[in-house]
């Protein structure tokens, strides 16, 4: 456990009477790709928001590199090196692609020429350099998701948390995105993804955390997890599970 990066301990979050997360714990080691999966409404995005400071936790603690980041403000957590994206790609609509990435780049650098240069490098890395002068809104869904990843990378994170970056992509775009995330990891960035696209989860993840109704039910390597009866029950229902027995 020498390379422990993110340590989530007993996180609970309630919206009124609804328990969105209940006592969720998991760890992420440096250099890993960890997927969080679960049926709709399992609390995956809420967990993301709790870790990155967008929601206040009701219980539990979050540590990043041993430092307590529980309930810190999102920008402070970002500065420490934890950056997230949103389920619906969020870009700044009256900016070009390059300017969007530059806005992220200002987190670690303040001089405009330097930030612009680094943003250009990030865009070359993510394959959007040719489109850098296009307006961000004019991009296709897949390019927008790519832009979001670029903006996050410009912030030079150690831990990148992607919320459904594969949803709505064509098979070809999906391949490209999987490749991109692999490349990101090669750069030394640890990645946590919330994902529904199982093809990507199976291929990318070192480990999978499964949530259901806000609780963690299983954790392990992808092949083991999908064969786990509890997971099948959560996804396909009690009756299907019984029929298979």
């Amino acid at each position: 456990m020498s390379s422990l990066l993110l340590d989530v301990q007993g996180v609970s979050k309630y919206f009124g009477g609804l328990q969105a997360n209940e006592d969720v714990s998991f760890q992420v080691n440096k250099g890993e790709i960890v997927s969080i999966i679960g049926p709709n409404g399992a609390g995956k995005s809420t967990l993301f928001s709790c870790i990155t400071g967008f929601h206040r936790l009701d219980k539990g603690q979050v540590f990043f590199k041993g430092q307590d980041i529980t309930n810190r403000k999102p920008h402070a957590i970002g500065k420490l090196g934890v950056v997230r994206t949103f389920q619906i790609a969020q870009v700044i609509s009256d900016m070009t692609v390059l300017e969007n990435v530059m806005t992220g780049g200002f987190l670690k650098h303040s001089r405009v020429p330097e930030v612009r240069k680094r943003a250009g490098e990030v865009l070359s890395f993510t394959g959007l350099f040719e489109k850098r002068h296009r307006n961000a809104l004019s991009l296709s869904i897949s390019d927008k998701k790519r832009l979001e990843v670029s903006m996050a990378l410009a912030m030079e994170p150690e831990l990148l948390m992607l919320d459904e970056s594969m949803a709505g992509l064509t098979p070809v775009e999906l391949r490209e995105m999987i490749e991109l995330i692999r490349k990101v990891r090669q750069r030394g960035v640890t990645v946590v993804v919330v994902e529904h696209v199982m093809e990507a989860v199976m291929e990318l993840s070192d480990r999978v955390v499964v949530l259901n109704s806000g609780r963690k039910i299983v954790e392990g390597p992808p092949k083991e997890v999908v064969a786990n009866p509890e997971v099948i029950r959560a996804y396909l229902g009690e009756r299907y599970h019984a029929a298979r027995q």
């Binding site: 400071g53 967008f54 403000k73 999102p74 920008h75 402070a76 970002g78 500065k79 950056v83 997230r84 994206t85 949103f86 969020q90 870009v91 700044i92 609509s93 009256d94 900016m95 070009t96 300017e99 530059m102 806005t103 992220g104 200002f106 987190l107 303040s110 405009v112 930030v115 903006m151 996050a152 912030m155």
Partner: protein, 321 residues
Amino acid sequence: MFDISGKQITVGGIVLALLILFPLVVTSPFGQHVAIITFMFAMCGVAWNLMGGYAGMFSFGQVAFFGIGAYASSFLLVTFNVSPWIGLMVGGVISAMLAASIGYPCSNLRGHYFAIATIAFAEIIRIVFNNWKLVGAAEGITVPMLKESVGNFMFHSSKLPYYYIILAFLLIAVAVCYWVSSSKMGYYFRAIKESHDIAHVLGVDVVRYRLYSIMISAFLTSMAGTFYAQYILYIDPESVMIMPISVQIVLVAMLGGANTVLGPVIGAAILIPLSEYSRAWLGYKGTGVDMIVYGTLITIISMYQPNGVWGSITYLLRRGK
């Protein structure tokens, strides 16, 4: 977009030279007065734009800062014989601090709700000043006559010094806006305008940068207020703290083109002469014809140039390339 080219410097230099020569050619006091008021609103529009245009915080309460700027310098001059130039700085600091103290609790207000808060704020300030004996309540303050000099910020024989001072103020405001919009702060303002969520994701301290925007805007607007007091030499709540001034400032910025450095200047150059001349030519009949003409023109511009005049000009220039 924010790189200055040689061509832009040339054009800017020519425009500046023309503005410097303008009052030497147009010698009528009314013509000069219109130019002065135009610059004053242009400056307020540029200041509003930092909040409303870039950071997306629609303020309909700018007049509060304008009024505080006017009152701070006048009160200090009348009561303690403090130079209006120091009053200008004091007013600016008070406005910025007040802006921060009201902006902080409004940190989560966006869109219409923020706009409503600014209206309420400005009205509260007006009512307070209307009843505050120390600053003359509804009677206002008459600025005492001093010998004319730059040091006294007062001139009687000619409007020329006022013209050049407000032109300099406007240039300062434009320079500040240009600097802000092309630096980290400008990018962060635009992220905040898009949504607080995306700004948070990008590591922007939303509360802090919103306050920066509000405070810079308040300081510049307050400077214009001090200028107005020294120019007119009489202020009361009904002349420097009323809603129509706030609306005028928003109109100037929106019609010229919010979110651009020079948009509000263009907006003021169109709207203020229109308003002043329609009042001079048509207003005396007391039938409100001037307001009808003025309102019609605003409607036409908003219908055909929704991005603002300057937005349309830059669009045409870019297409022409």
